[in-house]
Amino acid sequence: MALSNVVETPASGFNFENVSRNVALKGLLEGGHTKAPKPMKTGTTIAGLVCKDGVVLGADTRATSGEVVADKMCAKIHYISPNMYCCGAGTAADTEKTTDLLSSNLTIFSMNSGRNPRVVMAVNILQDMLFRYRGQIGASLILGGVDCTGNHLYTVGPYGSIDNVPYLAMGSGDLAALGILEDRFKPNMELEEAKELVRDAIHSGIMSDLASGNNIDICVITKQGVDYIRPYQESEYKDKRQRRYKYRPGTTSILTEKIVPLELEVVQETVQRMDTA
């Protein structure tokens, strides 16, 4: 039953060591008048749905840090395995690392066992890990993939709850996106129709949520392979940035010039030979 993991999983049952650590950390920070650093949240709209031929995942590309857009072309659809991708909402670092860890574990597993990983396995590993950390890892994930048992879409909450669903939206723009999905989703949709529906859902999230915006990425996973279209649609509101800020001499006109020679006196002079060979 042993499968090698990149990180050691506890031997049996539950491990609540981190609870006392978290309580102690909180006391340490608040007692000592220091505030814990605020993690960067992606403030996001992500969506996914299961269609006839596979799974379609979509995401916006804006990462915010407070009121400033920190990254306009952030990649929120993370690679897990050749047949699985995962959209992440919540704290940017947590979603990145969690999906990275999951991807490494699954690669080791498939090398060890000679089998392709299944979507349920990825979901179980995520659930175990997030539950162990009692919600301190702020990662809300949409995991979608195609394996020998079919097309699957799962939601994984930050506390470790999972649900198997045919369509889903998460992040700060989820309510807007969910409205579109609830209205137009049908089981066994055609691929093109599914892509348009996911695009419309993300677009509605972008329009209605301040923390979502910029471009739309779409990832289509089928039995034949993966089509990661980045960007599927670019934002209409693009600015023309110069990008090169070197100016030719003479751009700024010189009004006056005053040269003051500094009087220096040579106090000491030492010569050191360098070997150039």
Partner: protein, 212 residues
């Protein structure tokens, strides 16, 4: 109490009722966050922990899913070691041990019901702190408070399967009608010696009462 649950919670209605020859276990299908947002209309709260033993969950969804996962493994292992299907009491005890030993950190309650050769159909409640109780029928979750009167008045020992189905469906419908954090569809599982039968009753097919 429910508003203290962080993350997704199954503010819920769950019940289990024994009848002549088997047991019916049922639940609603709503999962909520913060008591005002329905995060899922179709969540599965009836978890099969062994061939003839089911368990319904209430409280924090993450805690309940983690506990039932660990319990499923332990019950399966126990069954292999004993070379026979586990007793319903054994399954309930496994859940109780997990809940009691981790009572500080967990916020999940369970109803375990099933059939075994030794005692036939049985129902056990495992409460939040780890109390284990055996009863002929039991109701649980936030929606159960609205149907204690109905359940006490209408339950009869040794019902037939059809009577019991009607009792369970009515109870769930009444609770879902009054409790805002219970709703969706009604899931019912009938467990007998012969096997397991899963029924889903969509919201519009549930029995309607005087004011609907």
């Amino acid at each position: 109490m429910d508003s203290q649950i962080k993350g997704v919670s199954t503010g819920t209605t769950i019940l289990a009722v024994t009848f002549n020859g088997g047991v019916i276990i049922g639940s609603d299908s709503r999962a909520s966050i913060g008591g005002s947002y329905v995060s899922s209309k179709t969540i599965n709260k009836l978890i099969q922990v062994h061939d003839r033993i089911f368990c319904c969950i209430a409280g924090s969804l993450a805690d309940a899913q983690a506990v039932t996962k660990a319990a499923k493994f332990q019950i399966s292992f126990h069954s292999i070691q004993m070379e026979s299907p586990p007793l319903v009491k054994a399954a309930a005890s496994v859940l109780k041990e997990l809940c009691y030993n981790n009572k500080e950190e967990l916020q999940a309650g369970f109803i375990t019901a099933g059939w075994d050769r030794k005692k036939g159909p049985q129902v056990y409640t495992v409460a939040l702190g780890g109390m284990l109780l055996s009863q002929p029928f039991t109701i649980g979750g936030s929606g159960s408070t609205y149907i204690y009167g109905y359940a006490d008045a209408k339950y009869k020992p040794d019902m037939s399967k059809e009577e019991c189905l009607q009792f369970a469906t009515n109870a769930l419908a009444l609770a879902m009608g009054r409790d805002n954090v219970s709703g969706g569809v009604a899931h019912l599982v009938v467990i007998t010696e012969e096997g397991v039968e899963h029924m889903v009753i969509p919201g519009d097919k549930l029995p309607k009462f005087h004011d609907e």
